[in-house]
C-alpha cells in the first residue's frame, strides 16, 4: 500500500494529529501495512512569513507519500498537494496518528475535493 503522511505534534504513532497542515510540527510517513514510520520535521515552516502551506506540500511530496491525513488544509497547500497527486483526508484532528491510520485502513476516510480552510491572502 502507498505510504501515508500524517501531520503530528511529535514523532510517535500515539501523538495527536496536528490539526494544522501548513504549520504542522512534523509528519509521520507511515507504511499502513507494517505501521513502520519515519518522521519528517516540518518546524521550519512555523517561522515562515508566508508560504508555509506550500512548503509543507513540497515536504510531503518529497517524502513519496501518496496520501495525506490531517486536520485543516488551506487553498494553496491544497492546490500544491493536488498537483503532486496526493490524496487528502481532512478533518482528522482530535485523534492520534494511529487512530487516523486505522480509520484510513478501514476505508472510513473520504478524500477531499476542496480546501477546508480559508487562505490568509485572498
Amino acid at each position: 500500500m502507498d505510504k501515508v503522511a500524517v501531520t503530528c505534534e511529535s514523532p510517535s504513532l500515539e501523538a495527536q494529529v496536528d490539526p494544522r497542515f501548513g504549520r504542522a510540527a512534523g509528519f509521520l510517513i507511515v507504511d499502513p501495512d507494517t505501521m513502520e514510520f519515519e518522521y519528517i520535521d516540518n518546524g521550519s515552516t512555523q517561522v515562515m512569513a508566508q508560504g508555509a502551506g506550500i512548503q509543507a506540500a513540497e515536504n510531503v511530496s518529497n517524502s513519496g507519500a501518496k496520501v495525506l491525513l490531517t486536520g485543516y488544509v488551506g487553498p494553496k497547500a491544497f492546490q500544491g498537494l493536488a498537483a503532486a497527486g496526493i490524496k487528502i483526508g481532512q478533518n482528522l484532528d482530535s485523534m492520534t496518528v494511529r487512530q487516523a491510520i486505522e480509520k484510513f485502513k478501514a476505508g472510513e476516510v473520504e478524500f477531499a475535493e476542496a480546501s477546508n480552510k480559508e487562505g490568509h491572502w485572498k
Partner: protein, 291 residues
Amino acid sequence: MKIAVASGKGGTGKTTVSSSLVSVWDSPVIAMDLDVEEPNLHLFLNPTFTGSRPARMEIPEVDQALCTLCGKCSDLCQFKAISLMGKVLMTFPEMCHGCGGCLAICPENALHPIHRELGEIAWGHAGETKFLMGRLRIGEAMSPPLMRQVKKRLDEMQAASPDQPKDVITDAPPGVSCPAINAVMDSDVIVLVTEPTPFGVYDMKLAHEAFTPMNKPMGVVVNRAGLGNSEIYDYCAAKNLDILAEIPYDRQIAEAYASGVIISESSDKMKQIFLELAEKIKQKAGEVCRG
C-alpha cells in the same frame, strides 16, 4: 529635506501632523502620502489631480515545455511564489515579492515576466503644494513595491524640473514592519506621532527601536496631550528623545478633523503649535548637517 511623519500605533495623528506641516511650512513642499493601504492626506489637502498611472510588478510565468524541473527557482524563492511540486512547477502569483530572482536564475529560460497590478500612483497640486500618492489595489497584500514606485515618481518629478519644492513631507503608514520602514528609510528626519495612552506608548517604543538603527534624527509629537499618563514623557526623557510638540486633547480638534479641516488652520493657537514644530524639525535636521 525629507521629513517622514510616522508612528507605531495607527490613528495617533500622522495625517493631522503631515497636513498641518504642509500648511504652515515657509516654502512650498511636496506632500507625499505613502500610507498606500489607506491614503487620506488628499482628503485634507484637496489636491487637483493632474496625472496617474497604474503600478505593476513583474512576476514569473512558466513555460512548462522548456522547464526541466531542476528546482533552482523553487529553492531560491523565500516566499514560495514558485514551487516545484512533484513533477509540476507551480506559481502562486499573489505570493510574489517581485525580486526577479527566479527569472534570473532559470538556466533554461523557461520563465518569462508577466505583471501583477499593485495599484495606482496619482499626482497633482494644491495651490503651490505638489502632491503625490499611491493607492494599493483592493486585495493586494504587499505595499512596499507600490511605495517604491511612488518614490520613483518623486525622483522623476524632482529630476524633471529644478524649481520643484526642495522639502518633502511624507505621511507614512503606521506600524514597524516593511511598509513603515520603507516610508522612513530615505528621510532626513523622522517625526514620531504618538499619544499618551498605554497603546500609544507601547507602539511608539517599538517604532523608536525599529527606526534607531537607521541613525536619523528623531523627535516626538505627543497628540491628545492631557489624556492617559506620563509614561511617554518618562520614556522620552530616558531615551534622550526630544518632544517637538504637544497637541492638546480637545474635542474641537476632533470636530475639525472629522470635517476635513487642516488642524493648523483651525485656530491661531494650533497654527502656532505647528509653526514651532516646523522650526524644531528644521533644527533637528540641522543638528545632523553640522554634526
